[in-house]
Every structure is written in C-alpha cells, then in structure tokens.
C-alpha cells in the first residue's frame, strides 16, 4: 500500500493535503477533508505531531519532539508517529512533501 511508512525512511517530510484543512481546538486537532466531505479528529499528541509536520519537521525530528514533550520512549514515539502518519496518508489528510 502506498501509504506505508518505512521505519527507516523517517527523514521524509509531509504536509497537509491541499484539499484538507487542519485546526487545533482545545489541544485536539480537526482535519476537514473537503473532497470527501469527511472530518477526522486527532488527539492532543496527534495534533502536536501535525503541527510539527506543518512546520516542515521530518519524522525523525517529530519523534524527538514527541519524546521530549511527552516523556515517552523514542521507540514508542516512533511507532506511534508512523502509525498516525500512515493513517493520515490513507485518509488523504496529508501528503508527502
């Protein structure tokens, strides 16, 4: 599947799909997917990750930021970040830069 993210390829950068909008509300994030007329909610960590993606951070840099902010193991942060990115790619919320 094209949205699979390799554990090794985390230097990749992503951006919000041009047909989507992202907004943070009370720490949580809302994606509005215009083409599908769908809406997607991400939790506070997810919103943090998306804000970093929007700031052109690589997945490696995001993992470092999540590890520092939420005091989680780097391995766990990487696994969670990749899972989120895969979900958002599959939903059409983000695309590779």
């Amino acid at each position: 599947m094209y949205w699979t993210v390799s554990m090794e390829a985390t230097a990749q950068r992503y951006r919000v799909d041009p047909h989507a909008r992202f907004r943070v509300l009370d720490d949580e994030g809302v994606f509005i997917l215009q083409d599908a007329g769908e809406v997607l909610v991400v939790n506070a960590v997810g919103a943090f990750i998306v804000e970093r993606l929007k700031a052109d951070a690589s997945l490696d840099e995001i993992v470092d930021a999540v590890t520092e902010r939420y005091e989680v193991e780097s391995t766990q942060a990487r696994t969670d970040a990749i899972a989120l990115v895969e979900t958002l790619l599959k939903a059409g919320a983000i695309v590779k830069s």
């Binding site: 909008r21 907004r23 943070v24 009370d26 509005i32 215009q34 007329g37 809406v39 997607l40 909610v41």
Partner: protein, 288 residues
C-alpha cells in the same frame, strides 16, 4: 412563463421562468411558503426549460436515491443531477437551473437545487444548514446532527409517538440570535415526510449527536469532536474550499454557545426522559 416566490424565515427565493406545469407542481408541494410575487427576491433563481433529454443525466428505470454532483469553483458552484444542471453565482448570489423535466421528477430537481442554494443563502445570513433531525415540545428545540444511518429518522419516529413536533429528519437550520441560537425548520422533509409548512423559530435548547446503545444516556464530547460532527453535517459548504474556514469558525462559535452532547438511545422513547431532565432546568431563552 411563471415566477413564484417562496419565503423561508424571511428569505425570499424567486423562481422565474417556470412553465405552467412546473409552476403547478411547485405550488402543490410548497404552497404554504408562497408569497405574492412582486419581483423582489433575496435569491433570484432562473429556470430554463430545455426539452432535450439527451443533454442531461438520464433518469433511472425505477425509483432510487442518488447523490447530486456539486463542483465548487472560485466564483460559482455547479450542480448536476437527474434531468438538470445548475450554476450558482457567488456574487451577486443567484442561480440558473436548466432542466428537461416538467413531470414529478421536476420537483426532485427543484428541491435538490434549492437545498444547495438555501445552504449558501443561510450561511450568508449567519446561519447553518445541517443534515439533522429536529423536534420541539413547543418551547424547546432539539437538533440531532448526523449523516445517513445515524438514527435521525428512527428518533423522529419515536418523537412523533411522544407527540413531539418533528420539524424534519433530514435538514434543519440553526441561526445565532443575540446571545442564543434558534432552531429553524426548513421545507425539506426527508424520509419522515409531511408537506412543508411555516414554523416559528424555536430556542435551540439541545444540540446533540447520536449513538446507538441499549439504554438512553447523554455524554459530553470534546470541542474538537463537536466541531467535527457538525462540520461533517453541513452539506455542500463542508466541501467548498472558499467557505470551509469560515464554516469551521462559525461551528466552533456555535459549540461554544451550545455545547454538543451525544445522545445514546435504544429504539424506545426513554430518550425523552433523559433529554427532558437534562435540559429542563436551563431552557434557552431567545433574546431580542
């Protein structure tokens, strides 16, 4: 050719260029909303009858539901469905309908276009059109947003058994008024049926999402989830890149004023006990 003016909550939609047969069908369906036609319109809609069926999407052999195609452009919105195409200009706000229909199918084209036009006309006036069910006990208005399958029609059937007045199981509007919000019935009845009739606005007392469960209860949800549920329920605008940011901002403001709660309900009337108890103590009064 005939012109008909239909008024919904103070907004006058003037449909001109109707053939006598088309006008008769509109009068039969939307008669209570007709106003004397003095040429004044908030939203002018020109109808062009073109008896060339080959130029339009063909009607199916039997009855079926289909999704109207809507394409958003910078300065207009294009709409197409069975037997019609239409164009809505953003500024000045107006629409043109081309159709090969004059029989019962014409009402389908007419209403399909009117829904899109009304969603934009309402939005321009500070309101939101939502896929939703709504009912009132005469003093309080309750709106349940959700797409097909959420349980809107089921809930309306249960509300009807309780002799609550169902406004629609498909499309209703919410408008800010002073520091409160009001619920407005729209002339789009959905599966629950009924001929369109003028309704006064009701105070929006309960703004709810729907979930199925074995017992009725109310749950809070986060503001992000509330915004997501309501934006997802706002047809046409939620897919329009020109309006999506303004829509999200308006919805966020709405849920600040009227927090969204999730009503879980079984297929019985016990949900009303939960709603009546929860919202009984803080009835929303309209200001002004």
């Amino acid at each position: 050719m005939t012109a008909l003016t239909l008024e919904v909550h103070g907004c006058r939609y003037r449909f001109s260029g109707l053939t006598p047969e088309q006008a008769g069908r509109v009068q039969g369906r939307f008669g209570p909303l007709l106003r004397s036609d003095d040429g004044h319109a908030d939203v002018p809609i020109d109808v062009h009858y073109t008896p060339n069926r080959g130029g339009f999407m063909q009607r199916p052999a039997g009855p079926r539901e289909y999704r109207v195609a809507v394409a958003h452009r910078a300065d207009s919105i294009a709409v197409a469905g069975i037997g019609f195409t239409a164009n809505i200009d953003r500024r000045p706000f107006r629409a043109q309908l081309q159709t090969c229909l004059v029989d019962d199918w014409f009402l389908g084209a007419f209403e399909n276009l009117w829904r899109v036009v009304a969603s934009y006309a309402l939005f321009a006036r500070g309101a939101l059109l939502m896929h939703s069910a709504a009912f009132t006990d005469g003093a309080r208005g309750f709106l349940f947003c959700g797409r097909s399958g959420a349980g809107k029609t089921t809930l309306c059937g249960l509300a009807d058994r309780l002799e609550l007045e169902v406004l629609s199981d498909e499309l209703n509007a919410v408008a800010e008024r002073g520091e409160a919000y009001e619920l407005r019935a729209m002339p789009f009845a959905g599966d629950f049926g009924g001929l369109p009739a003028p309704h006064p606005p009701y105070p929006l007392t309960g703004l709810l999402g729907l979930a199925h469960d074995t017992a009725a209860r109310l749950d809070l949800c986060s503001r992000a989830e509330a915004v997501s549920r309501i934006v997802a329920s706002c047809p046409y605008l939620n897919a329009d890149p020109v309006e999506i940011d303004a829509l999200t901002t308006r919805v966020a403001r709405l849920v600040e004023g009227v927090p969204l709660r999730i009503l879980s309900f079984a297929k019985d009337t016990t949900f009303w006990n939960v709603l009546d108890r929860e919202y009984g103590s803080h009835r929303t009064a309209l200001s002004g």
